[in-house]
């Protein structure tokens, strides 16, 4: 059947089961948008391309499906970049489609031309410039395959205008076969045996659960292993929700802003089982002092992560779900473990805490939010102090409920990601916990939320400053604050009202509960502008070049 390239694209996307595209139109994608009008695929028009990429990423994080975003050539494409890089750092499957100028104009610096495949090569899993329309169906199929298999990640397809218009005989390929891409899913049986032995012998084991637990969907296997062998579980920021936050074996987050007991447990462990965690710099503290007494079992789908940051005693390359299931079979059940008493003592003697004062404390607001939602919301955050407070005080009961930019640390991510999350899971309550700095980066997306009737709740922890940077300046610049305090901060509740959303302002502790209830019970998008203590810091904190066991504050 003869179709144009644009038709072939839409058909291939429909065939892949794509139900939603986040995008922004433009001159190089006219044909594609023309066909989207009549397609079964829903298009969500964001207010900037960056938000489209973040929304696709939020959609992917809650549903586990591939998120799709679409933008025109040139500035449309470059605006996607932050979203693509964010997805790359957190291994989120995304297919980004960009328009491109006509093939005969490429390289001539024509209007809205940019080399987007060149620009995104460092932070896409793969990308394509489609030069021959006949290759388009295969490329679309490959892009989804590459994005969603192995270690997931973003793939970009750049489609020149003339390729979208070209007519050809469309056939959709049955199979994908890429000779340079064969992910290894089955862990090596000998290595698995070694890991089982190490676990059976360990006296003080700790599981370090990362984002791989979420993407491989192995939280059940992980929980079973932890319970069977009585192994406490520390989580990375990306791994929160790997086991229920209130579980007695859960240690919360470890790392630069880890809990006291997680960091101590990791530092005292004799065996670390890193499950889909890459030992990122924010998670391990001073590298050569990380878990000094521990042997390390490192399970990851990406062979390049093994031995990259930390030397590994037993490396296992494979799909975490399959590997953990096999480890689970081999391990002996543990009845009593002395180590757990040590952990329990650490937890009760040094819980997460904060000092109350006259001023409203952000941690209190998050605790209240946790109570009122009974831990059942999907919570996205931006990046900064509020992100870590959320990681500490909102206990996630399962994976795919905490949506945050962990690797790239992208301010402006949380709110558009919440838009994608709400569209992916319409039945869930979606909340964004934000700061006044981050919220101002993608604030215009309020219009997208209103337009699509998305009852997202935005809790702006407003301290009138870029709190995390300010805190860093306190520690590393002798308290000399440079360019972090805003001289002007708008009233976010009134901004919300002008969009037709609900806006409330919270300034005192005794207002919090009622105001949050009003916000949560509203069927509209709602913004709570919460004026908090601007001197509040994120604790515990591990300073640069300190081992995880040396923390300051907060316990």
């Amino acid at each position: 059947m003869n179709t144009t390239g644009a038709e072939a694209l839409i058909r291939s996307l429909e065939k892949k089961g794509v139900e939603i595209i986040f995008g922004y139109p433009g001159g190089s994608v006219l044909q594609i948008y023309d066909l989207l009008r009549d397609s079964s695929i829903k298009h969500v028009l964001t207010r900037s391309e960056q938000a489209a990429a973040h929304a696709a990423s939020g959609y992917s994080r809650v549903t586990g499906r591939v998120g799709v975003c679409l933008a025109t050539s040139g500035p449309g494409a470059t605006n996607l970049i932050t979203g693509i890089a964010t997805a790359y750092m957190d291994s989120i499957p995304l297919v980004a489609i960009t328009g491109q100028v006509s093939t005969d104009m490429i390289g001539k610096d024509v209007f809205q031309e940019v080399d987007i495949t060149g620009a995104t090569a460092p932070f896409t899993k793969h990308n394509y410039l489609v030069k021959d329309v006949k290759e388009l169906p295969r490329i679309v199929k490959e892009a989804f395959y590459i994005a969603s298999t192995g270690r997931p990640g973003p793939v970009l397809i750049d489609i020149p205008k003339d390729v979208a218009a070209a007519v050809f005989e469309y056939t959709y390929p049955e199979r994908v076969d890429i000779r340079g891409y064969k992910p290894n899913y089955e862990g090596h049986p000998l290595q698995i045996q070694k890991a089982v032995k190490a676990i059976n012998r360990a006296r003080q084991p700790v599981i370090c659960a990362g984002g791989g637990v979420v993407s491989s969907g192995c939280h059940n296997e992980l929980l079973k292993l932890a319970e069977k062998c009585k192994i406490p579980v520390a989580m990375t920021l990306m791994g929160l929700g790997s086991i229920p936050g209130e579980h007695e074996l859960a240690l919360g987050m470890f790392g630069m802003h880890g809990t006291y007991f997680a960091n101590k447990a990791v530092s005292q462990a004799d065996l670390i089982i890193a499950a889909g965690a890459r030992f990122g710099d924010r998670a391990i503290g001073k590298r050569d002092k990380f878990a000094p007494n521990a042997k390390i079992v490192h399970i990851d789908i990406d062979p390049a992560e093994i031995g990259k940051n930390i030397d590994t005693y037993i490396p296992i390359v494979g799909d975490l779900k399959r590997v953990l299931a096999k480890i689970l079979e081999g391990t002996e059940e543990v009845k009593e473990r002395e180590w757990l008493n040590t952990i329990k003592k650490l937890k009760t003697e040094h819980p997460l805490k904060y000092e109350k004062s006259e001023k409203l404390k952000p941690q209190f607001v998050i605790e209240k939010l946790y109570q009122l939602t009974r831990g059942r919301a999907i919570v996205s955050t931006e990046v900064g102090q509020h992100q870590i407070w959320t990681a500490h005080f909102y206990k996630f009961s399962e994976p795919r409920r905490f949506i945050t930019s962990g690797g790239l640390g992208t301010m402006g991510y949380g709110f558009p990601a919440a838009i994608g999350a709400q569209l992916g899971r319409p039945e869930e309550r979606v909340i964004t916990i934000s700061g006044d700095g981050s919220f101002q980066m993608n604030l215009p997306e309020l219009a997208t939320a209103l337009e699509n009737n998305l009852p997202i709740k935005i809790i702006v922890l407003n301290n009138g400053t870029l709190g995390m940077v300010r805190q860093l300046q306190d520690f590393y610049c002798n308290g000399r604050h440079s360019c972090v305090d805003f001289k002007f901060v708008p009233d976010f509740s009134r901004i919300a009202e002008s969009y037709g959303a609900l806006g409330v302002r919270i300034q005192r502790e005794d207002e919090v509960e009622d105001a949050l209830k009003t916000v949560l019970n509203s069927d509209k998008p709602a913004v709570a502008d919460v004026i908090i203590d601007s001197d509040e810091k994120v604790f515990p904190m591990v300073l640069n070049n300190s081992p995880l066991s040396e923390m300051i504050g907060g316990y």
Binding site: P122, G180, Y181, G307, K308
Partner: protein, 162 residues
Amino acid sequence: MKHTLSVLVENHPGVLSRIAGLFSRRGFNIDSLAVGTTEVPDISRMTIVVNGDDYIVEQVKKQLNKLIDVIKISEIDPVNSVTRELVLIKVNADTSSRSEIIQIVEVFRANIVDVNKDSMIIEVVGDEGKVNAMQELLSQYGIKELVRTGVIGLNRGPKTIK
């Protein structure tokens, strides 16, 4: 320590830039890089000489393997292999020095491929050691221009990396 990697890649436009980009953004140093097509028309072979310790080379291999366009990587055995590089050297050569240079060329089994009244172009094929020795000897006459192809190589024996 130098390691020579033989890398089979898809013969697509843009593959070279992906590989070069990977080296620069991960901070790996390329000593030399030679690319050409192979006996299979849609596969190219790159021979990359990397300078680094075992950790670096391990990382280089793993990161290269992550590129979808990279089909296979193997390391050229430093002992049991044949490696060659071709170099063209334009060297000052007037009547007084010409015969000396010709002697050097003969000793090294190199070729003179162009002569004029002030200079000549010498073609040397060999492993890195030979090429470096030749270059050093000729430098006394004044090297006007020099171009190297970069090392290429194959492991000895019937084994292939396909």
